[in-house]
């Protein structure tokens, strides 16, 4: 019954999404732009949904996931990861705004800037560009400027910001009071939203378990439910409070300051989320088919196939990863420089470079998984049930599809989630080395890289660094904790060494 419900709701979401999409494409006065990574992201999402629908029908797949859902640390990580995911997805629907019709031409002209839904939602923050550096919550620039006074004389002072704190008449006196007021009211709003969500959740749970709402409330708050809803609610409360504070305050101030050219650092950090997620997920998506095919083929068929595949991955893995990436990206730069006609917009160009970076990272990282799968396939091949299948005359490919593949999937899954966090971290390092994402693209690596040059400045400009590090830290920490929960649930051999097993 519940499985049918889940499938039903997944289908419903799919249908609703596609109807909305069709509606949006045909009626909104914008031109949609589909970047390569967008396509892959949505394919990945569809695959995840498909897998979820499939897994919900099969008990042996549902059981480990239920274990993940029972893990308190795991569910907190999931809540935070989904917040990142939502922002990343909002940032993955791109369009171009129509330009005002000045030439009276029949054909509608579109702006050259490719925007995403996130850009559109954050328009005031995106367009609130200052002249240069300004500290978090500042009302004045961080650097002195010469200003002409009305009487003709010149004065060196810290000029007022054009957007940050512009609504204040006398920032020195009003600012802290205004920040406090805004914070308190957003905390209140956040609590209201959270309370509504809690009530909705508990009444839904009560209906599902056929219990009175008051009893369900007690169960949830005391943590007596199978899934630790009280922990989920706590994590959601933190997220909602932060979101409310950020939303209300960033309308009035630059909550993480501005960078060298006066762009809002908070907006840049939000934009960097998509880059991080793309690198963490698409890299694995790109390398997965090769790793699975080659690994299983080598382990199952042995002989010549094994020799060739082993040779290929030993060769690839013997080149130090950073150097291979550097060489490939250098070559890509040359190629892009000599073929400028291939890219319609700057966004498309940066996007293709991101995709290529994912592919190269995939090439350097598939060897580990391939080696693991080869070993596992070799072990499985000798198992009685596979020997039996061979004796019954089942074809090789059927054996691989029906017996070997399902039995190595847990290794694949564990390595996907384990790789994610290291890939996000690698992006920052690669951008520093100069072989990361396009310099025009928002990414934590690029933020750190440009802020690093200001370290020598006195007083120090610390906020871009801190913003990038904090957002990256939360994402990577959640991913690491989630990976632990998944590994503990799926790998019986490692179950003892995980976090949960300590207690």
């Amino acid at each position: 019954m519940t499985t049918k419900k889940i499938i039903g709701s997944v289908t419903l979401v799919f249908v609703a999404a596609s109807v909305l999409l069709v509606f949006a494409v045909s009626f909104l006065p914008v031109k949609f732009v589909v970047l390569w990574t967008d396509v892959l992201i949505f394919i990945l999402c569809a695959m995840c949904m498909g897998f979820a629908a499939y897994a919900s029908q099969h008990e042996h797949l549902r059981a480990p996931w239920r274990e993940v859902a029972r893990d308190r640390v795991g569910v907190i990580a999931v809540v935070f990861l989904s917040a990142y995911l939502v922002i990343g997805l909002l940032d993955s629907v791109h369009f171009r705004m129509p330009l005002p019709d000045v030439k009276q031409s029949t054909e509608q002209q579109y702006s050259n800037d490719v925007l995403s839904v996130l850009d559109w939602m954050a328009t005031p923050v995106r367009e609130g560009v200052e002249k240069s550096y300004s500290a978090p919550f500042a009302a004045h620039l961080y650097v002195k400027e010469t200003v002409d006074l009305p009487d003709g004389s010149k004065v060196r002072l810290y000029p007022r910001l054009q957007h940050g704190g512009a609504h204040l008449n006398n920032p020195e006196q009003e600012r802290s009071g205004d920040i406090l007021n805004t914070s308190l009211s957003s905390i209140f709003e956040g609590m209201v939203v959270w309370a509504v969500l809690t009530v909705l959740l508990i009444s839904w749970l009560a209906r599902r378990h056929h219990r009175p709402v008051s009893e369900m409330f007690g169960l949830v708050m005391r943590g007596r439910t199978e899934i630790p809803w009280h922990v989920i609610l706590l994590a959601t409360a933190i997220l909602i409070l932060f979101a409310m504070l950020a939303m209300n305050l960033s309308g009035k101030y630059h909550i993480f300051g501005t960078d060298k050219v006066g762009q809002d650092t908070f907006y840049q950090t939000l934009k960097s989320i998509r880059t991080g997620l793309v690198i963490g997920t698409l890299t694995t998506l790109v390398m997965l088919p090769f790793a699975i095919l080659a690994g299983i083929a080598a382990g199952y068929f042995r002989g010549l196939a094994d020799d060739v595949i082993q040779y290929v991955y030993t060769t690839l893995s013997s080149i130090p990863g950073v150097l291979l990436i550097a060489a490939a990206i250098l070559m890509l730069q040359v190629y892009m420089a000599t073929h400028p006609e291939l890219f319609e917009t700057a966004a498309a160009r940066a996007d293709l470079r991101l995709l290529f970076l994912c592919i190269i990272l995939g090439v350097t990282s598939w060897t580990g998984l391939c080696r693991l799968l080869r070993g596992e396939a070799m072990k499985l091949r000798e198992m009685d049930y596979i020997q039996a299948a061979v004796a019954f005359g089942v074809g090789h490919f059927k054996i691989i599809g029906r017996h070997i593949l399902p039995n190595v999937m847990h290794i694949v899954l564990i390595s996907i989630v384990l790789d994610f966090s290291s890939l996000v971290l690698a992006e920052a390092v690669l951008s520093y080395v100069g072989v990361g994402v396009d310099p025009t693209m928002n990414s934590w690596g690029n933020m750190i890289n440009s802020a690093r040059l200001e370290m020598a400045r006195e007083p120090i400009v610390w906020w871009p660094l801190l913003a990038a590090f904090i957002f990256m830290f939360v994402l990577v920490l959640s991913a690491n904790l989630f990976a632990d929960a998944v590994r503990d649930a799926f790998d019986p051999r490692l179950r003892r060494s995980g976090l949960r097993a300590c207690l």
């Binding site: 290929v312 030993t314 013997s318 080149i319 130090p320 150097l323 060489a327 490939a328 390092v429 750190i448």
Partner: protein
């Protein structure tokens, strides 16, 4: 033993040939030397003469693999492939695109890299194993739990944060050591302390966790139970039996990276201004010096394969069960 080493050595040759062909394809087939010349001379308004001159100075004006115009064996030797790729096998790296002798640069720069990388490895190994033994000793208690939580937290911090934080705190705020730079001889110490500290700190989270897993796996084995059953104290079990047996997986991880220490750490060296091979590579990437990057790719692979060879040999030294066949 000698036989075994020789045979392993011959196994390495096809892999090196593969690496060589791959780098050749990457650097000369994907993009022609013309593209590189245009890129290096500035994209716009490049005269064909300037391009020819650039290519000629660097030896990129020959045919790729087969020179029909030459005589005899020069048909094959007077080509880019022979000049730039085959000669790597005898460590003739040739000249960089800016005209410097790469072999000389590498010889000069590998020592500073080693001065930084070796202490990081040794001190890191010592700290990681010590702490890992500690948490393994207190396994399944709150010390273990919070130890692992701390490790995961440390793992989740970007290595750039350790570098920038270390430079800011130790170098700029406390003025204990210079922020960056390098000197020869014993003066190097004050420049090396901070990078080494940072290098150790950034590896500590994943390191402790990894060794803890190894120790715990080892502690689940039968011989440990026997040792406990015959009345040995827990610390004796840990130090005399578990540590000794856990050395085998630890050794695999360490020996394989020993030769790569010469290559240095790209990010660390460039942040701290250490004139090692890591910063050499970064500079080459930023100046788009293809000759240096190509040489470093090949050198890195050779050192890695050497590491694999050393691992196999060291196995036989520590594990008497492994027989060389």
């Amino acid at each position: 033993m000698i036989n075994y080493i020789i045979r392993r050595f011959f196994y390495a040759i096809p892999i090196l040939i593969g690496v060589n062909l791959l780098t050749f394809a990457l650097f000369f087939v994907v993009n022609t030397p013309d593209d590189m010349a245009r890129m290096n001379l500035g994209m716009k308004r490049v005269t064909p003469e300037a391009m020819e001159k650039w290519k000629h100075e660097r030896g990129y004006d020959k045919p790729l693999v087969f020179n029909g115009g030459a005589a005899g064996s020069e048909k094959f030797t007077d080509t880019i492939f022979y000049d730039k790729s085959v000669k790597l096998f005898v460590f003739e790296f040739g000249q960089s695109d800016s005209g410097r002798d790469i072999t000389y640069d590498i010889k000069q720069r590998m020592w500073p890299s080693l001065v930084v990388a070796l202490p990081i490895l040794l001190i890191g190994l010592l700290t990681n194993i010590t702490f890992a033994l500690l948490v393994a000793f207190f396994r399944a208690t709150y010390i273990d739990f919070w130890g692992v939580v701390l490790c995961v937290t440390l793992m989740s911090i970007s290595s750039l944060f350790y570098i920038i934080g270390g430079q800011y705190l130790v170098g700029k705020l406390w003025h204990l050591v210079p922020i960056s730079g390098y000197e020869e001889g014993f003066d190097a110490l004050k420049f090396v302390v901070l990078p080494v500290m940072v290098g150790v700190a950034s590896g500590i989270g994943s390191g402790i966790r990894w060794y803890r897993t190894i120790f715990l796996e080892e502690m689940g084995k039968d011989y440990v139970r026997t040792a406990r059953a015959k009345g040995l104290s827990e610390s004796l079990v840990l130090f005399r039996h578990v540590l000794k047996n856990a050395m085998i997986p630890i050794l695999t991880g360490v020996v394989v990276i020993l030769p790569l220490l010469f290559m240095g750490n790209l990010v660390l060296e460039s942040f701290f201004g250490i004139p090692g091979l890591g910063s050499y590579t970064i500079d080459a990437i930023n100046m788009q010096d293809f000759a240096i990057v190509r040489s470093m790719v090949f050198l890195g692979s050779i050192l890695y394969i050497l590491g694999l060879l050393l691992t196999d040999i060291s196995y036989t030294l520590v594990d008497p069960r492994v027989k060389l066949a």
